[in-house]
C-alpha cells in the first residue's frame, strides 16, 4: 500500500490528538481482527451508494456481507437501496443515533441480545465518520471501531490508511476471500 507510511488524516487539518487509530497494514491483519471479535456490526454510510475513489462501494459491502460475519445497518438514505440489491440490513438508522446507542453500555443491540464488540464503517463522508468515531473513541471505550473507508481515520480504533481505490478494492476483496467467499 503506497501510502502506508503516511498515517495522516485524509482531511489534513482534522488532527485529533494523542490517541490515534492503529493502521491495518494487511488484509490478513483485518481477517485476524475480525476473527477475534464476537459480535460484529457493519455500518454502511450515507455515501455508500456512490462510487468512492472510483470504486463501487456497494460491491465492497456485498463482499463484506458475504463473509457472513456482520450484522449490517445503514444510514437512512442507504438502507433500502442495499436491500434492493440483495444486501439485507437489520435497520436503517442515523449514524448519530447509532453512535448514541453504541456508547450506551446497557444497550442490547438490534436483536436485543447484547452490544457489539466490533463495529466497521464504510461509505461515509469523511467528516461525518471522523466525528462519530470521535464520539465512540471517547465514550464507547470497549468497542473496537474500524474504518473500512479508503482514508485514514485517526479516531477509529483500527483504520485503513489513505489508499487508492484499486488498493482499497483488492484489500477488501482479499479479506472476503479469506472467509472463503466467491
Amino acid at each position: 500500500m503506497s501510502t502506508y507510511r503516511f498515517p495522516e488524516p485524509w482531511a489534513t487539518a482534522e488532527i485529533p490528538g494523542p490517541r490515534k487509530a492503529a493502521i491495518i497494514p494487511r488484509p490478513e491483519s483485518l481477517v485476524a481482527i475480525l476473527r477475534r471479535a464476537n459480535r460484529r456490526l457493519l455500518v454502511a454510510g450515507s455515501k455508500a451508494l456512490d462510487r468512492i475513489e472510483g470504486v463501487d462501494t456497494v460491491e465492497l459491502i456485498r463482499l463484506l456481507h458475504s463473509t457472513k460475519l456482520f450484522t449490517i445497518v445503514a444510514s437512512r438514505n442507504t438502507a433500502y437501496r442495499l436491500e434492493e440489491v440483495g444486501i439485507p440490513t437489520v435497520a436503517s438508522i442515523s449514524v448519530y443515533e447509532l453512535g448514541d446507542r453504541l456508547r450506551d453500555s446497557s444497550w442490547t443491540g438490534f436483536d436485543g441480545v447484547g452490544g457489539y464488540d466490533l463495529v466497521g464503517f464504510i461509505g461515509f463522508p469523511y467528516i461525518t465518520l471522523w466525528l462519530v468515531l470521535s464520539g465512540l473513541k471517547h465514550f464507547a471505550p470497549k468497542i473496537s471501531t474500524i474504518s473500512l473507508d479508503p482514508y485514514y481515520h485517526p479516531h477509529a480504533y483500527w483504520s485503513l490508511p489513505n489508499v487508492k481505490g484499486s488498493e482499497w478494492y483488492s484489500f477488501i476483496k482479499k479479506v472476503a476471500d479469506s472467509f472463503g467467499v466467491m
Binding site: 490517541r19 450506551d104 461525518t128 462519530v132 470521535s134
Partner: protein
C-alpha cells in the same frame, strides 16, 4: 435573576423612587402598568430555569463528538482528555465539550447583544429614546420574547435598554463559567448553553424591533416587495457599492445619501449577508448578491467599486481581496477595525482622494451618518478608473493554470467538503469546464483549496471562472424580510397548528456552510411548501431559498405566498429576525391558547414542546451565532436539525425512541404519567442526507398534543415522505399511533398490518406537560 434577586431589585427601585420621586412614573409603567400578572421568572438568572433545562437534558442527552482530544485553554495544558483522563484542572471530556459549546454560545449571544447595543444607541441618538415601538395595527404583542423572558413590555426604544442590560450582565456571568475552575458538570454547562440561547433571542428581538420601528421596515407585511438577488442582478455599467455584514446603519446611510441627492439608479447598492437583507428592508431598490459564501466570488468578479463592511461574518481577507481588484474598503465597526487608520475626523473629500488614488487600500470610519457620502463619492470617483478589474483568470488562462496541477489532491484534503477538485481541474486542463461548474454549485467559497495548493493554482478562482456561464445568469427574486408575524395570522393558524391540521412550521435559518450545495434546501423547502406546511426563513438560508428557478423561471418566493399560513413562504429577514420565528411559537401559546406570557418561561416552553409542531433547519450552520440561536430554540422546546457539518458543534441532543421511559408526560387533567411517544424525538440532530432530513422534519413536527385528525395528517406526510425518500414505511411508526383514529385513512390496512407486527395497542392521548405544577387536578 433569582426570585430573591428580583425582590432585591424591586427594593432597590423603591429606594430609588424614594430618592427621586419622578422615577415612579417610568419604572412604575414598566413594572405595573400592564394588565398581565407577573409570572414566576422575570429576568431569570442562570439557575432560575435550570430545573426546566434538566428536564429537557435528561430526555435529550448530549452525544458528544469531541472535535479535539485536547484542551488548550490555560497554561497548565495542553491536557489530554482521552480515555477518561482529566485535565490539570480536573475537568473531564463531557464537561470540556459542553464548556466549548457554552463558549461558542456566549460568543454568539455576545455578538447579537453587541449588535443590538450599537444599533440601539445609534437609533436612540437619531430617533430619540421615546420613539414608540409600534408595529402597526396588526401586531399588539410587539415583543413576545422580551415579555416572556423579562416580564416587561417595551413601549419606546428606551425601554429596550432594560432588557439589553440584563442580557449583557447575564452573558458575562455565563462566560465567567467557562473560566478554568468554574462549572465542572456537563449538565450544568448545557443548562448554561440554554440560558445563553434564551438571552440571545432577547438580543435578537431588541435589535430587530428597534430597526423595524425606527427605520420603517415592513411590519409583518406578507406582501413585502420582491427584490433582485444574484451576481447577475448587479448592473455592471454603474458604480457598485458592496455592503457586507450585519449592522445596517452604514448601508442605510448610503441609501439615504443616494436618495437625498437623487442619485438612486446611478449607483448600485449591492449587499452580501444580513446587511443585504436589512438594506433591502430599508429600501427595496437595494440588491442582494447572496449569502456569505458569495464574498470571494463577487469581489473577485471585480464588480464592486467600493466595499463597505460593518460587522460579523465578513471574510478576514476582504481587504486583501478587495485590494487585488483595486476596490477600496471602508470599515465601519469598532468590532472590525482591520488595522486601518481611523479617518473618522478627517474631511470626507481628503479621504476620498486617498482611497481613489490607492494611497490607502482602506480606512476605518466610525460615523455611520457620513458613511453614505464617503462611499458614494468614492464609488463615483473611482468608477471610471477601475474598469471593473477582475482577479479571476481569463478564459484563456484557465487551461494553462489547470495544466499546472499535479494531482496531489491537497486541495481536496483541505476542502471542508472534500470536493473532487483534482478531477475537475484535470478536466479543465483538457478544456472541459463542466466539472468546474458542478463544483461552483456546491462550493462554499472558503478558499482553502487555493491556500493549500503547492502549485499555487488559484483553485477557487479557477472554479468561478470555469462556471461563469452559471453566474452570468444568476438572477432571482427574493421577498424582502417582512419582520414579525401578525397577531391575526397567529389567530388563524394557531388552532390548526396546535391540533395538527397544519402539519408543521418549518424554519430555514442560518449560514451557508452546506455540505452539498444550496440546492438541497430549496428541494427540502419546496417539498414541504407543496404539502401545506408553513415555511419560514431567515438569514443566509432565506437567500439560498431564492437562488433557484423552476421551469418557468420563478423562484420559490414568486411561487408561494408570503403569508404565515399553510403553504406560505415567509422571509422574516436577517439573522436577528429569527426572533420572529421564536416569537411566532410564543404567540401561538399566548394569543391562540391564551397562556400567560409575562415572565412565564417554563410554561410557555412546555407548551411549545408538547403542542407546537415547529422545527428549525440550519442546514449550513457555521457560526457561533447560529449555535446561540439554536440553543434559544432548544430551551423553548423547538427541535433543530443541522446538516452534516453541524455535528462539528461538538454534540447533538438526542432522544432515544427505544427507551420508553423517556417519553412519559403528565396528563394535565389527571396527573397521570402517560406515554406520549418520542415526540419530538430529538432536540438537536444532524442529518446525514437531504433524504433523511426531509423525513426527520416530518417526524419532528409531531407533538403529544396532536388531535387524532392532526396526527393522521402528520403521519400521512411522514409515511409518504419516508416511502418516497427512504423507500419504506417508517420503522417507528407504531410509536406515533396512539388510537386507530390516528391512522391516515388511505393507509389504514398497511399501517394496521405494521402495527400488528409490532404488537401495538391503543394508548391514551394526554393533555401533555412535563411540569408537575401544571397538573390541574392532583
Amino acid at each position: 435573576m433569582s426570585r430573591r434577586d428580583f425582590n432585591l431589585r424591586i427594593k432597590k427601585l423603591v429606594s430609588d423612587i424614594f430618592q427621586a420621586e419622578g422615577l415612579e412614573i417610568s419604572f412604575g409603567r414598566i413594572l405595573e402598568e400592564w394588565e398581565e400578572p407577573l409570572g414566576p421568572t422575570p429576568f431569570p438568572s442562570i439557575t432560575d430555569l435550570r430545573r426546566w433545562d434538566h428536564i429537557l437534558l435528561e430526555r435529550y442527552k448530549p452525544f458528544y463528538m469531541p472535535f479535539c482530544d485536547l484542551c488548550c485553554l490555560c497554561t497548565m495544558g495542553k491536557c489530554d482528555l482521552t480515555s477518561g483522563k482529566r485535565g490539570a484542572c480536573g475537568i473531564d471530556m463531557p464537561a470540556q465539550q459542553s464548556r466549548i459549546v457554552l463558549l461558542a454560545a456566549c460568543i454568539g449571544a455576545a455578538t447579537h447583544a453587541a449588535h443590538a447595543r450599537h444599533l440601539l444607541e445609534y437609533l436612540v441618538s437619531k430617533y430619540g429614546r421615546d420613539h414608540p415601538i409600534d408595529l402597526g395595527g396588526n401586531i399588539y404583542v410587539e415583543a413576545p420574547i422580551i415579555r416572556l423572558v423579562c416580564g416587561i413590555k417595551p413601549r419606546i426604544l428606551g425601554d429596550l435598554e432594560d432588557a439589553l442590560s440584563y442580557v449583557e450582565e447575564q452573558i458575562i456571568s455565563l462566560l465567567a463559567a467557562t473560566h478554568t475552575g468554574q462549572e465542572d458538570s456537563w449538565i450544568d454547562f448545557e443548562s448554561k448553553v440554554f440560558h445563553a440561547g434564551m438571552l440571545d433571542h432577547v438580543a435578537l428581538e431588541i435589535a430587530d424591533l428597534a430597526q423595524i420601528v425606527a427605520l420603517g421596515y415592513p411590519k409583518g407585511d406578507p406582501e413585502a416587495p420582491l427584490v433582485e438577488i444574484g451576481l447577475a442582478a448587479i448592473d455592471q455599467s454603474k458604480p457598485v457599492i458592496l455592503v457586507v455584514g450585519h449592522n445596517v446603519p452604514s448601508a442605510a446611510s448610503i441609501v439615504d445619501y443616494l436618495v437625498r441627492n437623487r442619485m438612486y439608479g446611478a449607483v448600485e447598492v449591492a449587499g452580501i449577508c444580513c446587511t443585504a437583507h436589512d438594506v433591502s428592508r430599508y429600501n427595496p431598490m437595494a440588491k442582494i448578491v447572496g449569502p456569505l459564501s458569495w464574498q470571494l466570488r463577487f469581489v473577485r468578479s471585480g464588480l464592486p467599486d467600493v466595499v463597505v463592511v460593518d460587522e460579523q461574518c465578513i471574510r478576514a481577507d476582504i481587504l486583501l481581496e478587495a485590494a487585488r481588484v483595486k476596490a477600496p474598503v471602508i470599515a465601519t465597526s469598532i468590532e472590525k477595525c482591520m488595522g486601518l487608520p481611523d479617518a473618522t475626523s478627517e474631511p470626507i473629500d481628503s479621504i476620498v482622494e486617498k482611497l481613489v488614488s490607492g494611497s490607502m487600500p482602506g480606512i476605518l470610519f466610525l460615523d455611520p451618518d457620513r458613511v453614505g457620502e464617503l462611499a458614494v463619492k468614492t464609488a463615483l470617483k473611482i468608477f471610471p478608473y477601475r474598469q471593473k478589474i477582475r482577479s479571476l483568470p481569463s478564459d484563456e488562462d484557465l487551461k494553462t493554470l489547470a495544466s499546472k496541477c499535479r494531482g496531489c489532491r491537497f486541495c481536496e484534503r483541505a476542502c471542508p467538503n472534500n470536493l473532487p477538485i483534482a478531477e475537475a481541474i484535470n478536466a479543465a486542463s483538457k478544456g472541459d469546464f463542466n466539472a468546474l461548474a458542478y463544483l461552483y454549485e456546491i462550493c462554499i467559497g472558503c478558499g482553502k483549496c487555493e491556500e493549500t495548493c503547492p502549485q499555487r493554482i488559484p483553485v477557487h478562482s479557477v472554479i468561478i471562472q470555469g462556471a461563469r456561464k452559471i453566474w452570468r445568469n444568476e438572477r432571482f427574486k427574493i421577498r424582502v424580510g417582512r419582520g414579525p408575524i401578525q397577531d391575526v395570522e397567529i389567530r388563524n393558524v394557531g388552532r390548526p397548528i396546535v391540533f395538527g391540521e397544519i402539519p408543521g412550521v418549518i424554519a430555514f435559518v442560518g449560514c451557508s456552510n452546506y455540505y452539498n450545495g444550496g440546492r438541497e434546501i430549496v428541494e427540502i423547502a419546496e417539498e414541504f411548501l407543496k404539502r401545506n406546511y408553513i415555511v419560514v426563513a431567515s438569514g443566509c438560508a432565506a437567500m439560498t431559498l431564492a437562488m433557484a428557478k423552476d421551469d418557468e423561471g420563478r423562484s420559490l418566493y414568486e411561487k408561494y405566498t408570503g403569508t404565515f399560513d399553510a403553504g406560505g413562504l415567509v422571509n422574516v429577514g436577517s439573522c436577528i429576525s429569527n426572533s420572529h420565528i421564536a416569537g411566532a411559537a410564543i404567540k401561538i401559546a399566548a394569543i391562540f391558547a391564551k397562556r400567560n406570557l409575562r415572565a412565564n418561561y417554563e410554561e410557555i416552553a412546555d407548551y411549545i414542546l408538547n403542542r407546537v409542531g415547529a422545527v428549525g433547519i440550519a442546514w449550513g450552520a457555521m457560526s457561533q451565532k447560529a449555535a446561540a440561536i439554536a440553543a434559544g430554540f432548544w430551551r423553548l422546546g423547538v427541535p433543530v436539525i443541522v446538516g452534516p457539518h453541524g455535528a462539528k458543534y461538538r454534540r447533538l441532543l438526542l432522544g432515544r425512541r427505544d427507551d420508553e421511559n423517556s417519553w412519559y408526560v403528565y396528563d394535565a387533567r389527571t396527573g397521570d404519567r402517560v406515554y406520549s411517544g418520542p415526540a419530538p424525538e430529538h432536540l438537536f440532530v444532524a442529518a446525514e442526507s437531504k433524504e433523511e432530513a426531509i423525513v426527520m422534519i416530518a417526524k419532528l413536527c409531531m407533538r403529544p398534543n396532536d388531535t387524532s385528525k392532526g396526527r393522521a395528517i402528520k403521519l400521512s406526510h411522514y409515511i409518504d415522505l419516508s416511502k418516497k425518500y427512504l423507500g419504506c414505511l417508517p420503522d417507528d411508526l407504531h410509536l406515533y399511533v396512539r388510537k386507530e383514529a390516528d391512522i391516515p385513512l388511505t393507509l389504514k390496512s398497511e399501517v394496521l398490518e405494521f402495527l400488528k407486527s409490532k404488537g401495538w395497542s391503543e394508548k391514551p392521548i394526554p393533555d401533555p406537560t412535563l411540569l408537575p405544577r401544571l397538573v390541574r387536578k392532583r
